[in-house]
Subunit: 306 residues, 2 copies
């Protein structure tokens, strides 16, 4: 049986933009804490942010939940998160599939996969093509790992209930609470500012280094000044406890920036005035070496960055 | 990063139709046989058939493959099947995600999830509303289990390489070969016949009994005459070896019919002439009891059917 219908009305030269992804191993933290009402928020917001980098608005979302044994309360809890995030973004939760696959999944493990379809007018697609040297780079804060870097985080911080329940004065909450912070959706706050935006990069797996180059025209470099934003304390904890190098931290985690916005310098204040949490965190410069992303940070040599 | 763009051109009042699903535990057979080039065909054709029941033509497909350890050759093999089936149906394989999740999957296990988006003109949607008593029911043959009923099949026939390699004279191939037959796509053969079709039912999990009622208006019953089609020998083998009742067989498996077509009796020959493999297998009648699907079969009492 198919998921659902969606009537496409009122779009001139509509281009459909789609994405599929899963929550990844953040789900292991949810399972350890037996807390399933936010993983749905994670995957919906992750997918919305992904397609929004093209300027697309979300139309509809489909979910796939697979597990060894269907526990109705758990499925309800997962779906409540999906529904909440879809509603907040005006995205239709159009259908989904719940599969009981005891041969593939074991114990309480499950996988949560999302697929989103959005739309953007052909002449409104944001591709970063207009970005030039001198453009401003604005960072929108993340509230933690979002949905990436959990393999390293779990390795360093542990994934037992006991370890996740430890209160940490630095984030001011338990490790588990800090790791479960739901992925922020940047679509609603940034949508009205699209006319000022030249490019967007959703900071997921690979961090700034891995995600920013895709949005940048050839020959340009995104130069970040790390003193301009605050790195959430959960990252400091992972770095300290796991003795992880600064370079690796920036290559695995978003380090406090969930979405990067490129705009003309004279438009930057339109964005930072509308969104006080957004900060100018860097500048686009001409490429001279191999690096496409430079993060100015003590202990993090420029030439080390991909 | 999002999956991809799809420009929607040339549709009047387009309605997007979408579906998501996985191959289910058929994947366990693929893993046991280390044969991964057809599971992609399975999921693509399954999804295409699902949305085609509304009259929709496939536009684009996204895949999600998750496993404990990414083996490049295996991923290539899976994707080759996806690409082959998408190409055959004129559907764009627009993007996907490959996730390495050792905490969720173990050993060689993997899950393969598909998401499809298709389109149908608002005034061309097939909903079965026009079906009346006296209409013909045409069955299009399946070539085996397609992607449903594998939990029971594996329980009865086994899932070790040893058991799957047993040659069976009845299907004339090994058990494993019979179980791996790829899901048939009914979109291409039926598309030109859409003007004659009132309703479609894709026979997946739940068999005829579970899938046909969704396409039938209230107060009507689909009455099948099981002498009119051939039940593939793999089902006979499962029935015999597992001592499975006829009723259960019809409630779990497609039993040889992969797609059910409803049409006016005078149009039936247009379909059976165009598709010699298609057979008139029943008739729509007025509902008198509780059953919405009646399968006329010895050993299968009418009143036992849901």
């Amino acid at each position: 049986m198919f998921g659902g219908f969606f009537e496409l009305k009122g779009y001139r030269k509509p281009v459909l933009v789609s994405s599929t992804d899963s929550v990844g191993t953040k789900i292991k933290i949810a399972i350890a804490l037996d807390k399933h009402d936010t993983v749905g928020i994670d995957i919906v917001n992750h997918c919305i942010n992904d397609i929004f980098t093209s300027g697309a608005e979300p139309l509809f979302f489909l979910d796939y939940i697979a597990t060894a044994n269907l526990v109705p309360e758990r499925i309800e809890s997962i779906v409540s998160g999906l529904a909440k995030a879809c509603k907040a973004a005006g995205c239709a939760l159009i259908g989904g599939e719940t599969a009981e696959l005891p041969g593939i999944y074991s114990g309480d493990d499950y996988d949560l996969v999302g697929c989103i379809v959005g739309v953007v007018g052909k002449d409104k697609i944001i591709m970063g093509k207009g970005i030039v040297a001198g453009d401003a780079i604005i960072g929108l804060p993340s509230n933690g790992l979002h949905t990436n870097g959990y393999s390293l985080a779990r390795k360093v911080l542990g994934e037992t209930r006991e370890k996740l329940d430890v209160y940490s004065p630095e984030p001011g909450k338990t490790i588990g609470e800090a790791l479960m912070e739901p992925h922020i959706c940047y679509y609603q706050p940034l949508k009205p500012l699209l006319p000022y935006i030249k490019g967007l990069a959703h900071i997921t797996g690979g961090g700034l280094v891995g995600n920013v180059p895709r949005s940048l025209p050839k020959g340009l470099v995104a130069q970040f000044n790390s003193r301009k934003w605050t790195v959430p304390s959960i990252f400091k904890l992972i770095k300290k406890q796991g003795r992880v190098s600064t370079a690796e931290m920036y290559q695995v985690f978003n380090m406090g920036i969930g979405m990067v916005v490129f705009c003309a310098p004279e438009k930057a204040s339109r964005i930072t005035r509308a969104l006080p949490e957004a900060k100018i965190v860097g500048e686009v410069v001409k490429q001279t070496g191999e690096a496409r992303v430079i993060i100015d940070n003590k202990g993090y040599r420029k030439d080390k960055i991909a």
